[in-house]
Structures are given as structure tokens and as C-alpha cells.
Subunit: 517 residues, 2 copies
């Protein structure tokens, strides 16, 4: 079973002066669970023959068709030097070269948090859970659907800090649309750094914003610490099919040079950015990741990267992306096998759904994806809570609903206790035919930790539930959101660090005019 321990909300990596100690004494105690270490097998949906076919086809794609590195002469030069056939922006990679280059990428790395208790190890049998990323809208029961603001952003960071089963503060938990586009990243990073002590993601929307992320991290962790350690994992999408654009590659270059981690992630809506078939999509995903990871290692050998796969299918009637579908599940499982054979950490899955509301559709689709994510060997699950309406909306209620379900993944992953206590032969002997176990010694000794316990769902008798207002899950979740935001206290941080971050943000903002495009 995963370790769930109560910890004071404030603990810092660096120093900790009088103010930090005082904050620690008065802080709310919040529970947190360590990242998941799987003690159960993955589901291997593809056999050896199928895997070899896909791997061979991916090499054919790289060799025959190649990939485009757009508006990026430096990348083309690096590829040419590495032995690729470069014509215009097209890079054709000889069979085996990309896979060979990938070998210097670590199979496992540690992302540090400012509270070392919140460090995460990404790779191997581990699963790290991070919240929704990217929605321009938010929704809650009281206020409905509306454009997200920086106030919403801060609320979601606070919910993440208070969520026991969330190991990571994430990145763009929603788009703060009330802040100029060219300055948003500063406020977002500031929020993650000061309102949470969990690990976080950096900006990728421009190379200069990635550079700001590194600079602000140096303020938080100290310059030398950032030079020597990975303190950010950032999301670099591939412009599928087979295209690497200059913006995303620019961010990757900044991070790889600084030894900071990137998820290199094909962004696939099957039928639009990839073939309508599962094996075809897996082939393209593998080719894209091979090229992207290889490129990261051309930038800096040993730079930490993650094999990403964002995959959905499409509704052929409307063209809308669909979520929680069996085809997406098969791709998620197959890509996990390909990632493990490549020796790379794997990012996929999430609390995906297409539904407009946090209703039954949302929950079916989400549970389908979360369960398959666990069994696919995913090491880093972005969007693990809060995702609504195909990623257009960050939902307050769905955030806490999903975050509660994440507890089931922890327990499931822990596997089955086969100790003498787990075998419970004494209990079966004590109770015997026709008895009941409620009062037996084994039950008394184990009942507190025997079963996963929801913090949200309703198990009350019908009559009690009805008297209390016959609330559905969304209503229960709305109450939980209010309670968590009410209970929230910031984790302790040295005032000097906050002042330095404030100053950096203010100076940067003052250095350029607002831009909203």
C-alpha cells in the first residue's frame, strides 16, 4: 500500500528561518501520498511479433518519409552532423540511428520539489500524477462556464497542494486569460512556486519563457542546485504528423541544455493527425518520439526526457475528439510497451472526457482512461484530475472528483498482500461457517487500513442521503472544493525568496508591453 502520512504543510528544501519555523508550527496538517510504485503487472496488449512490426515500420517512416524540423536551421545542422539525410526542412533518419541516439536518455530521473518530501522519481515502476493542463475555460457549479483567470489559476494550485493523491502541481492548470499572453507564464510560475511545495512544470510557449522558468527556478532552489538537478518537467508537443515546430523545439533546447526534463509528446487526434487504425497510430507515435528524443540527446546527451503520447480518437460525424474510447485505450497500452522497450519513462492517459458537464459521461470516460493508464505502465500522468469538455474546461468539481478516484489507483497498484496477516487464515478459523467477520480479531486489527476510503463519494443509507438533500456527486464535490479552499494554508517559504520572485516578475513585466496574441 502507498504511504499516506500527515505532514505539516510547510517544509522547505532551503534553510528555513524564523518565519518559516513559525509558519510550520501553525500550518494546517495535510495528508499526502507518495508517488505510486507499482506492485502489479502491466497489461501487455501487443505480442512480440506485433511490437517488432511496429518498431520496424517506425524506422521505415523515419528513413523513407522523415520528419520536418521547421524554421530551425540549427536543428537541421545537428541532424546532418549526426548522419541524417537533410533536404530542405525534411530530416530522413537512417534505420537505427534515432534509437541509438535515444540510449543516452536516462530511464529514470528525479524531479526535485522545494519540499524534498515531495520529490518524485519518474520512470521504472513509478506513477506520478499531475493535474489538468491547458484549458482556457473553467466551470463550477455556482458560476457555470467562463474564461479562466489568474484567480482561478491560483485556486487550482491550492487545490493541488491540498489533494492527497496528487504528486505534482502541474503547469497551466488553466489559462489565466486576464493576464497578457506574454506575461502569463510569470504569474503561473510564481503561483506554483509560492502556493505549492510540490514539483511543477515550466513554460514552453516561447524559448524566452522557458528561460524565465529556469531563472525563477534558480531563485527558488538556488543557482547551483538547478545546475545540478532537475527541478522542472515541461510539456513539449510534437505537431503531428511528423512535424517539430520552432517554438516547441526552442523550449526543448533551453530545457535540455539546462538539464531540465521535457515530455516529448505527439499530440494525436486519431483520424486527423494519425491514421484511423491503432497500429498505424502507434507506428507514427513511435517514429515521432524516436526523432524528438534523439534530437534532445543531440542538444545534450543525458538530458532527461519522457516518451509522451497524447491520444484520442475522433467522432467521424462531427470531427470532435472523443475520450475514454477503446481505441485510445489500446494505443495507450501499446505505446507503454514501446516506451519500455526503448528504456524511457512514459507519459500518457489522464482524466479525459468529452462531456460538457462532470456527469456520468465524464466519469465513464475518465475512469476508462485512468484505469488503462495505470495498467499501461504510465510513469507521468498529466491531466490526472480536473479535465472537462475535451480539455477546453478546467472543472473545479471534477478536479476533486477525479483526485478522489486517484486514491483507487494507489491501492490497486500496491498489489495483494500475501503476508500471513493478508492470508487471514486465523480469521477464517475464528469465524467459521455461518458466522460474520465484523467483530473478529483480524477485522479489528485491520479495518482502519483494509479498504481504500473515499473523501467524497456517498455511502450513506438512502433515507439519510435523502434527508440531507439527495445530493449528486457534483453537489458533494462543490462542498469539498469550498472546504479545501477554506482550509488551505500556504506552505512555509522564506520571505526573501518570495521577494526575489516578486521582483523578478515585476521587472520582466515592466520590460515589455502587454500582448494578447
Amino acid at each position: 500500500m502507498s504511504e499516506v502520512v500527515e505532514q505539516p504543510a510547510g517544509r522547505r528544501a532551503r534553510g528555513g528561518g524564523g518565519a518559516a519555523r513559525r509558519a510550520e508550527r501553525t500550518a494546517v496538517r495535510v495528508e499526502f501520498a507518495r508517488y505510486i510504485e507499482r506492485n502489479i503487472p502491466n497489461l501487455e496488449i501487443l505480442n512480440e511479433e506485433a511490437l517488432e512490426i511496429i518498431e520496424a515500420n517506425a524506422e521505415t517512416v523515419l528513413e523513407e518519409i522523415g520528419v520536418n524540423f521547421v524554421e530551425n536551421p540549427a536543428a537541421l545542422a545537428l541532424w546532418r552532423e549526426a548522419g541524417a539525410d537533410v533536404q530542405g526542412e525534411r530530416v530522413r533518419i537512417p534505420r537505427g540511428l534515432a534509437r541509438e541516439l535515444c540510449k543516452t536518455a536516462p530511464s529514470t530521473f528525479t524531479q526535485h520539489a522545494r519540499n524534498p518530501e515531495r520529490n518524485v522519481v519518474i520512470g521504472g515502476k513509478n506513477l506520478v500524477l499531475a493535474p489538468v493542463y491547458g484549458p482556457p475555460f473553467v466551470r463550477d457549479l455556482a458560476g457555470g462556464r467562463r474564461y479562466a483567470t489568474i484567480a482561478d489559476f491560483r485556486n487550482f494550485v491550492k487545490l493541488g497542494q491540498m489533494s492527497k493523491y496528487l504528486h505534482h502541481s502541474g503547469g497551466t492548470v488553466c489559462e489565466p486569460t486576464d493576464v497578457p499572453v506574454n506575461k502569463r507564464h510569470l504569474d503561473m510560475l510564481h503561483a506554483h512556486m509560492t502556493l505549492s511545495d510540490k514539483p511543477y512544470m515550466g513554460s514552453v510557449t516561447e524559448p524566452s519563457r522557458a528561460a524565465d522558468s529556469v531563472e525563477m527556478s534558480k531563485i527558488l532552489f538556488g543557482e547551483q542546485f538547478v545546475d545540478e538537478n532537475t527541478v522542472m518537467t515541461s510539456l513539449v508537443n510534437i505537431n503531428s504528423p511528423l512535424t517539430f515546430d520552432a517554438t516547441m523545439m526552442g523550449a526543448l533546447e533551453v530545457y535540455a541544455k539546462a538539464n531540465q526534463a521535457c515530455i516529448i509528446s505527439p499530440f494525436i487526434v486519431g483520424g486527423a493527425m494519425a491514421p484511423v487504425s491503432v497500429a498505424g497510430t502507434l507506428t507514427q507515435v513511435l517514429a515521432e518520439v524516436l526523432a524528438g528524443v534523439a534530437y534532445s540527446q543531440l542538444i545534450r546527451k543525458g538530458a532527461p526526457v519522457i516518451f509522451g503520447a497524447f491520444v484520442t480518437s475522433i467522432d467521424m460525424n462531427s470531427g470532435a475528439p472523443t475520450f475514454g474510447t477503446p481505441e485510445a485505450a489500446q494505443i495507450t497500452l501499446g505505446a507503454g510497451q514501446l516506451a519500455r522497450r526503448l528504456g524511457l519513462p512514459y507519459r500518457s492517459a489522464g482524466a479525459f472526457c468529452g462531456s460538457k458537464l462532470p456527469d456520468a459521461q465524464a466519469a465513464y470516460e475518465t475512469a476508462n482512461t485512468l484505469n488503462i493508464g495505470l495498467l499501461s505502465g504510465v510513469n507521468f500522468m498529466l491531466h490526472a484530475c480536473g479535465w472537462l469538455e475535451g480539455g477546453l474546461v478546467s472543472s473545479y468539481e471534477k478536479y476533486v472528483m477525479d483526485a478522489d478516484q486517484l486514491g483507487t489507483l494507489h491501492r490497486m497498484a500496491a498489489g495483494i498482500d500475501m503476508s500471513a496477516n493478508g492470508q487471514a487464515m486465523d480469521a477464517i478459523r475464528e469465524v467459521g461457517p455461518g458466522g460474520h467477520y465484523l467483530g473478529c480479531a483480524h477485522t479489528q486489527a485491520n479495518f482502519k487500513t483494509a479498504f481504500w476510503k473515499t473523501d467524497l463519494l456517498d455511502y450513506k443509507p438512502f433515507e439519510t442521503w435523502e434527508e440531507e438533500g439527495a445530493r449528486d456527486t457534483v453537489a458533494l464535490a462543490a462542498a469539498r472544493v469550498a472546504k479545501m479552499l477554506g482550509d488551505y494554508q500556504p506552505p512555509a517559504i522564506e520571505p526573501g525568496v518570495v521577494e526575489a520572485l516578486d521582483e523578478y516578475v515585476a521587472k520582466k513585466k515592466a520590460s515589455m508591453p502587454d500582448a494578447f496574441m
Copy 2:
């Protein structure tokens, strides 16, 4: 991929006179999917060592503790004769004896339907889906929660007949509480036999009612056909822990003697009827099934039976059963491994939830269980749709919501197409870097069957969805229920058979006073 074909609603096994032919010509054409044949691996959560420990412990339970066969002297005599140590009602079974007796039970059997197109093969890599069983209440959006009636029962049978991904009509789809307890089974069987042409379950609430089930089946199928074939699969619960009551065993005896199938199923709320640990519960489940299946083979060697496991955990605060939990998932996976090692078909999982409403909680819990059921190697899934509120309620809306999700299991189970068309290399070549797949030849050739398609969920653009009333899943489901009941037409059946069934029911009802206990 599973075969989904359009079929006239009416096709009968026997004869088919002019009336049947006329009915056939005018019948609504309904789609149906064949039972699932898995082309993906199961998830093997227990390793060999763990399995051997549990199997050894189960033998110890049978040998040292034993099981009770209550108020059943004939059973005790059979056990004594077979070599068990019988003291009072306690039957202690020497190591290995029960497992040896189980060997005569078939690993696979066919349950015939009156329409042979609807026959199901239970066992092996197959999965047969049947609806909810047992709730005394129904709920729908318009009428709320209320006691179930025979009119509700008939509606649910009609929904089952119209549900593409449901292979089985089930049994007590709800309790018709307006019909006397001692006469309900007659009306329920009559409904399954006349309103559906899918396979069905018999009555188990008294041996005489099991006998009625056999007699009515003989009217439907012909006496000789029933003597020579299995036409019912009925649910025999074990009174866990370790107790076999006379009523359920009486039904088992009737069915086994008639070569009709039974699910022999421990009914476990973990912490009450079994230990709070997963391995302890698996041990007790295995011991109970070994004893029950062995007993079925003492009644008649070769009688078809299914290894059942109804498992939930308990909320230790309220004592309420909980569903969709990780502990239940682990038990479902482990019991599947134990069933396969015993060479028996396996029944477990279902659309389980504890929620009072078909809301997000219901859907999370249901999806958790459905997905694990597929990966556990379940061969017969009772309660695959319509289950609400811990089994107290059959929900109209949840029935069609769950039934839609069952389509995802079909597609998932079909595995990944590795043909040249599945590999889609031509598509990747045609589209190339930066293109899109919407119009390419491969997409055009495959898009109609490429993706599982919901009949219920909403994929519309936000604005359209809002204009159409911003409906949640329950509202969409209510509309689908109305449409399906409106479109329903009974499958063709010979009028003579219906008259004979009517006559049997009328005569039986007249032969005894009403009883409501």
C-alpha cells in the same frame, strides 16, 4: 472486432408458422452483437507462488474447518459417500477431493436461446453480458424511486431485447413486487420467453420454482430439446461464509439433474462475510466454490456450472457495501485466475455502484468494475447494466447508459488489427509531415468501422449542446429509454407456444393462494 449485424427481431428455433413469418416481415430490424471473444490477454495480478498459497489455504479450510450444508440430509449423505467427514451439518472435505470432483464439470458450455442466433457459449475466452438482477426498486428520471412492478419488469426485458451489446435477457431484472412472491417467477419467465429471444435465467427461490422453470422451458423449446441441451443459466448464491442453505441447494439440485447450468457464487461483502483482506477473501471464495461445484457434480457428473464471485468491500464507518473499489477489483482479478486454473467458466463483475443516482459516482464505480471484469477473464457478467444503489434499484437510465459502455468492452476485447490495412503504412506515406488524415484513402476506406461509436453520449460542439438544452447523461438516457421502448416489437413466436405458456402460468397460479412473504 465483434460482429454486429442487423437481424430481423423475430427468428425462432422451432418451426415458425404463417403468423411467425408475417411477424418477421413486419418486425423492426434491431442490431445485435455476438458475445465477446477476447483477443487480448487477461491481467494476471497474482503470481504462481501466491496462487499456490491461496489454493493450499482453501484446501486447509475445507479439510479443517469445512462447510455447512444446512437442513439437507440428502446432501450430507452424498458427501459422506464421496469420502467427506460429516459431523452434524458440517462437511469436512479431505485435501484434493473437491478439486478432483470438480473435474467432471465442463470448461465450456452452450446455453441455447429460442433464437439460435442468440445462443451463447460460456467459458474459454468468451464474455457473455447479462443485465442487473434482483432489485426491489426501480428509478427513472420522470418517476423517481419506487417499488418495482411487473410492468417495469416487462419494460426491462424489452430494453434488454433492444440492447445491441447485451447477449442475455437475464433473470430477475427487477422484483415485480405487485405479484405474489410465490407466483412472480411464472410471470417473470413468461416475460423473458415471450418478449425476448435471448437466453434467460431460471428461478432459484424454491426448488418447486426451479421445476416450474424447467417445465416452462420445455413448453418453449420442446421437451426433448431441454433434456438434451442447456437452456437456462441460474444464479445459486452461497450463504457466505461457508454455508450452503437448503433453498439454494434445492434449486441447484433441480437444475443439475436437468443438465441446466448454475452459477455457484459466494456472496461476499468483504469484512462481513469474508475477511477484510484480499488474499483471505480469495481463499474463502475458492473453498466455497470448490465445495459447491463438487456438490453439483455429486448430483450429476458433467452438469454445467460457473465459478461465481460476487465481491464488494464494506464502508467500515456505515457498514454499507461499497462498489468499484480497488480491493474488489483485486479480488475479481485473482478469482479469475483461480477459476481458470480450475478449468471452470467464471462469473464476476458488473455495472456495480453504490450511488443513489446515475451520476458521476455511479459511472466511476461502474467503469472501474466493467473494465476490470473484462481484464479478469470473466465469462458471464451478470449485472452488466442497470444496477444502481448497491443493487437496491434497477435504473432505467443507467440501464441504457451502461449498455452503451458495453460496446467499449467489445471493441477493447477485439485486440489490435495488425494486418497491412491496420498498419496503415500507405496512409502515413500518403499524408506525410504536416498533412492531415481526414481525407486520405485509408481514412475513407476505414472510417465507418474504425472507431467504437456511442449511441448515447454527447460529442456535439458546446454551442449546439447548449442550444439543445445542455442535457446531462441522464437526460440523454431518458430520451433513449423512451425511444427504445417505443421502437420495441416482440420477436416472432408461435401463438400456440404462447397459449401453452399462458395456460401453464394460469393453472399454476390457480393452484395456490397468493403469498407475499
